[in-house]
């Protein structure tokens, strides 16, 4: 505690000495160009991958495309597959929820932002700019990866919920209730502000300084309500497609979900998405369960099923890339949607054997420098935490932050020089 104070006193002293020249030299000559609007999509599963078919044998740009990644061949230059990247955790299935935070839920209380997941951190940054700050989605599987800064899991919506959220107007009753809530909170704030001002007059000077926080909180919340409320009256975009039937199997549902994500980006309904997809008995002509397949014991049937499921997930990532490449980015005044969309594929558990070392992670888009099999240091003293990749994405998104979860820095080599 004392050292902090001393440090602060030092900084204050130093600040006095150099404040003026610093400020002047740093002042931008003209208002900065508007930062581009970025998007983030995380595609995930809950059982990891069959690694022999996922990771390329060689590193670098000219690797032979492994079986599972083959659907991404047309986009080879636009994505990178990582080796030796993980969160350094142990715990099998319990690590799945740590994909976007690097922190297992049970130990979350020891971190300043608990196990806040990347998507929710980004959603806070987007704020009221879009109708939905984030969308947490699922197809035949629980989505376990989105957590608020207090460690509460964000509930996920399915295909039907997603379509309705995007295109179907809330019914009049819900809208009226929301409007009433805004009005109610508005008058509550008016009233407490009145009281707060009379309380303020009775306080001593020191207490007044402390109490200023409360007054500012009331005004801040008023401003936020003013930003949120107009969304009620903004019409949702017209639905360009009919509502996809839900429950036609993972193949159809996942494809429809990916199309909806692309539409949501196109209509700027949201900029942050996480999706977990799974398997329903009968998909791909297979009978069994995803969890069962993942414990394949190298048996041919189970390995085959697993590879089919994973190949399809990867193919859907490719499909999303295709859809986004085909759309100009009107919001950012040029380029395609893909240029400003980060797509992450991965799972917080590496394989069905409960290993958590060397997570399967693919990164595409966002303007990153990609197109290789990036083999990171393998030795335990040199390994990099996967949270470094999360921090890179965070900064790419425009969030000014020097750390995320367990990160030790950004992942070097992703930026164009």
């Amino acid at each position: 505690m004392k050292s902090e104070l001393n440090r602060r006193r030092f900084l204050r002293g130093a600040g006095v000495a150099i404040a003026l020249p610093m400020l002047e030299s740093l002042a931008p000559a003209a208002p900065a160009a508007k930062a581009p609007a970025k998007r983030f999509v995380c595609l995930s599963n809950n059982y990891g991958v069959y690694p022999q078919a996922f990771f390329p044998a060689d590193g670098g740009r000219d690797y032979a495309m492994p079986e599972t990644l083959r659907p991404l061949e047309p986009h080879r230059a636009d994505f990178t597959v990582f080796s030796n990247l993980d969160h350094g955790l142990l715990g099998g299935h319990a690590c799945v929820p740590s994909l976007l935070s690097g922190v297992m839920p049970v130990v979350a209380p020891s971190f300043p932002e608990m196990n806040l997941s990347l998507d929710q951190k980004l959603a806070a940054h987007v704020g009221a700019a879009t109708r939905f700050p984030s969308m947490t989605l699922r197809v035949n599987e629980a989505n376990l990866i989105s957590f608020t800064r207090t460690g509460v899991q964000v509930p996920a919506i399915d295909l039907r919920g997603m379509y309705r959220a995007l295109f179907i107007d809330d019914d009049a009753k819900d809208k009226a209730a929301a409007r009433a809530r805004f009005a109610r909170h508005g008058s509550i704030l008016d009233t407490v502000l009145g009281e707060a001002k009379s309380v303020e007059r009775t306080l001593g000077r020191e207490d007044q300084a402390k109490f200023a926080e409360y007054l500012e909180a009331v005004r801040g919340l008023e401003r936020k309500i003013a930003l949120d409320e107009p969304w009620l009256d903004r019409p949702k975009p017209d639905a360009p497609v009919a509502e996809p039937p839900q429950g036609k199997g993972t193949e159809a549902d996942l494809k429809a979900m990916v199309e909806l994500i692309a539409l949501a980006i196109q209509t700027d309904s949201s900029r942050v998405f996480t999706l977990a997809s799974g398997f329903a008995n009968g998909d791909f002509g297979l009978s069994g369960g995803y969890h069962g397949f993942s414990h394949h014991g190298e048996r041919e049937k189970e390995v085959g099923a697993l590879k089919a499921i994973e190949r399809y997930q990867v193919a859907m990532m490719g499909y999303l890339i295709e859809l986004l490449k085909a759309q100009p980015d009107a919001l950012n005044g040029g380029g395609t949607l893909f240029d400003h969309t980060v797509i992450l594929y991965g799972c917080g558990m590496a394989t069905g054997q409960h290993t958590t070392k060397n997570l399967p992670i693919l990164l595409a888009g966002g303007g990153f420098k990609l197109g290789e099999h990036r083999v990171l240091p393998e030795h335990k003293t040199e390994r990099l935490p996967a949270a470094n990749l999360l921090l890179s994405i965070l900064q790419n998104f425009g969030v000014e932050s020097g750390r995320f979860g367990t990160s030790t820095g950004t992942l070097a080599g992703l930026e164009w020089a």
Binding site: G91, G151, V152, Q153, V192, K224
Partner: protein, 757 residues
């Protein structure tokens, strides 16, 4: 202070004077004005060093003992005078907002809420029910989305550190709306009818396997408990008896109930001890618990369960009636367990028959026989066992009855908000609400704006109750509710709030308000009686928990847990907290000796902690109770597993971390901050906690910092090379002999007992 000058000149200035300033200390220039807090602190440090014998250092010339004693006495007297003078300056409480726990407790008491979620002591943590890493998905806790309050040296009640933001204000409004909704009864349908329910055999109709299930068809008019119910992670529901008929739904209507159980104990003393190792010399204990049906009424991993009562059963084989009254949430229900039952997973009908009824025994079918044949065999053996007369110990439950207690309708939570008749003027209700919500006498002028708010809502077409809720929500978000401050002219009401937030972390109750209104609360005798009453009140559990968390920094428990194992599977963290609570609560209740904090010949254990941490098999049941400490694990609070774990880094114990903790939290003599060129030590556990490690330092290898670490090391407990925290908890259980003198009243702690600090 000038009377000290000769001593200082003779023994101190050589190293702490004009020429040298060892440890950055220069005594000849140190201010002599003890009215200044920083001077006072520095001179207290000098006194401590003198008393300790740490200064002058051993290699220097030592003062004669009488000379030194005279200097100590002089300095101690100066300091005592300075402290006394400082105490005369009236302390003025600073305005501060409620922290999130106080908010939840206050809403509970203000709105008369009884939901189980309001009985939690801590903040909602992601709870892993069965150690598989999947955490509970949602929470009904009104403060679930509140960010953690800022701590100052472990305390979350420091006004300066408790910040306010618009995010928090939105959360407060949300929590207030939610809680007001909980307090509102649905009065349109009239009193919800719930009849008395009587459950008789078979009370439980499915499972749990084992002897209890096998015996069911042979039990005439009763259910049995034969084995100990297991802790989380054991995946068996043996030993848990709840009415299957309501196991999925709970009791259906929230309210007060009387639960009556008719039970008999059989064969407390029995001839089958060879296979069934029950405690034949102590009465069987029947435990009554409540559990949340939505997370599994029979699930051993369900964290939402609490014990209501424990009854010793007379060893007479006769049915006796036991009953207890409690509020039960709609979705909760009671269950019964035999608290001090034996447990042996290998116990089976076959083995019992083979050993004790050899005439009826048949050898099992050969390996690989069809399943049906094996089932038939097991059935035959069970039949043999139970028709011959089961001579093993067991409890028979003849009846569980759940009777709703006639209470006021609408309930108090409702009438407090909307009035008993439902046509009282809103302004009157709002004024009455303000007296309690704002914890002081309020006149109508102060609540006029809230009455106006309600009127505007009504004018806009809102129903009366809804309009009132809007006004109440505003009052709960208002500074008068949310900030604690002394109000000029509020007299004893200020004292009532300070007392209640100190001892209950909540608002004053009716008795405190009455005494404050009568102006009697500040009378010493009344005050003393009230403090005693408040410490006996169930709300004092908050004080016990938060005091141990803040003072011993047990709030750090869980920040660096061991990487895996039973710590998670058996929910040990929760057990450790409760153990620390039990120990400290007992100390408070008995007004026990301070030295019991350091060492005692007793400790508090339940079966799980005894078995998994202390490796003792002589403690039974889930409730913590006082038991003799068994060396080397020791008594006292310093060696509680909670303290051991909170001061270790997750994998092994670190003498540095524990030493710093001892100096800071126990001895009240924080070590100096690390020199600037020292790397912070890294915790070596799976969960890295950078925030917690920033103040630690491993300076052993760096010659720049020997002076600081020496005291750290000598104060810390001994470190041995084992790689499990909990193994260390055991090994460190007794203080090593050479450290003991430091904690003896004659030693270092004497300063805090005799000096007026």
């Amino acid at each position: 202070m000038s009377d000290l000058q000769p001593f200082l000149e003779a023994h101190c200035f050589d190293c702490h004077g004009e020429d040298k300033q060892k440890g950055d200390l220069r005594l000849d220039a140190l201010g002599r004005d003890l009215g200044d807090a920083s001077n006072l602190g520095a001179w207290q440090g000098v006194l401590d060093q003198l008393r300790d014998g740490a200064m002058p250092p051993a290699k220097r010339r030592q003062p004669d003992p009488p000379e030194k004693q005279r200097a100590i006495d002089l300095l101690a007297r100066h300091l005592a005078d300075a402290y006394a003078a400082a105490d005369l300056a009236p302390a003025r409480p600073v305005i501060r907002r409620l922290n999130r726990l106080e908010l939840r407790n206050t809403l509970r008491d203000l709105l008369y809420l009884e939901q189980p979620v309001f009985r939690q002591l801590g903040v909602p943590r992601p709870e892993d029910a069965n150690g598989n890493g999947s955490v509970s998905r949602h929470s009904e806790d009104p403060i679930r989305e509140f960010p953690a309050d800022e701590l100052d040296h472990g305390f979350d009640t420091i006004g300066e550190r408790l910040v306010m933001s618009d995010f928090l204000l939105r959360q407060i409004i949300g929590a207030a709306e939610e809680c007001l909704q909980l307090a509102t009864a649905n009065v349109t349908g009239g009193r919800p009818e719930v009849g008395a329910r009587r459950f008789t055999a078979p009370i439980r109709t499915e499972g749990p396997g084992g002897l209890e299930e096998q015996s069911r068809q042979f039990n005439a008019g009763y259910d049995v408990l034969m084995q100990r119910y297991r802790e989380p992670g054991a995946s068996t529901s043996i030993g848990r008896l709840a009415p299957s008929a309501i196991a999925r739904s709970g009791v259906g209507v929230s309210g007060r109930y009387r639960i009556t159980v008719e039970a008999s104990a059989h064969h407390q003393r029995h001839p089958w001890g060879e296979l069934i190792g029950s405690r034949q010399d102590e009465p069987m204990l029947l435990g009554l618990h409540l559990i949340d049906s939505q997370r599994g009424a029979f699930s051993e991993g369900n964290p939402n369960t609490e014990m209501l009562a424990q009854w010793p059963l007379p060893d007479d084989g006769m049915p006796h009636e036991y009953s207890v009254e409690s509020w039960i949430d709609a979705k909760w229900l009671p269950w019964l367990g035999w608290e001090n039952a034996p447990y042996d997973r290998g116990l089976s009908a076959e083995r019992l028959v083979e050993t004790f009824l050899p005439d009826r025994y048949q050898p099992p079918p050969p390996k690989g026989a069809p399943d049906q044949e094996r089932r038939d065999y097991r059935d035959a053996m069970a039949r043999a066992l139970f028709t011959a007369g089961y001579a093993g110990p067991h409890i028979r439950i003849h009846r569980i009855q759940i009777d709703p207690l006639p209470g006021a309708w609408p309930p108090r939570s409702h009438t407090a908000l909307y009035g008993g008749r439902g046509d009282e003027p809103p302004a009157d209700l709002i004024l009455a609400f303000a007296q309690r919500a704002w914890r002081r006498p309020v006149d109508a002028a102060e609540t006029a704006r809230y009455a106006a708010l309600a009127d505007r809502q009504i004018a806009a077409g809102a129903p009366r109750d809804e309009a009132l809720r809007v006004a109440y929500t505003a009052m709960l978000a208002s500074p008068n509710f949310y900030y604690l401050r002394d109000i000029a002219g509020a007299g004893d009401f200020n004292l009532a709030s300070r007392l209640s937030y100190f001892l209950w972390s909540s608002m004053p109750d009716a008795e405190l308000f009455d005494l404050a209104a009568a102006g009697k609360l500040s009378e010493p005798a009344v005050l003393r009686a009230q403090v005693d009453r408040m410490l006996d009140h169930r709300n004092a559990a908050s004080f016990v928990r938060r005091f141990t968390e803040s003072w011993l920094r047990l709030d750090k428990l869980g920040s660096m847990p061991p990487p895996g194992g039973f710590y998670f599977h058996r929910q040990m963290e929760r057990q450790m907290r409760e153990q620390a609570d039990a120990y400290f609560a007992d100390l408070v209740r008995r007004n026990g000796q301070v030295r019991d904090v350091i060492d005692s010949d007793y400790t508090f254990l339940n079966e799980r902690t005894a078995q998994w941490i202390y490796k003792r098999d002589d403690v039974w049941g889930d409730a913590f109770r006082k038991v003799p400490a068994r060396p080397p694990h020791g008594g006292g609070m310093l060696t509680l597993p909670a303290a051991m774990t909170a001061t270790a880094n997750g994998v092994d114990t670190s003498p540095v971390i524990r030493g710093v903790w001892l100096l800071e939290s126990v001895l009240g003599t924080p070590p100096k901050p690390p020199p600037p060129n020292i790397e912070p030590s890294r915790p070596t556990c799976a969960a890295r906690a950078p925030s917690a490690s920033s103040s630690r330092h491993t300076a052993r290898r760096n010659p720049a910092a020997p002076a600081t670490t020496r005291s750290t090391r000598s104060a810390s407990l001994s470190n041995r090379s084992t790689n499990s925290v909990l193994a260390h908890a055991l090994q460190d259980g007794g203080l090593p002999r050479r450290d003991r003198h430091r904690l003896h009243p004659a030693g270092r702690t004497a300063a805090s007992q005799t000096s007026p600090r």
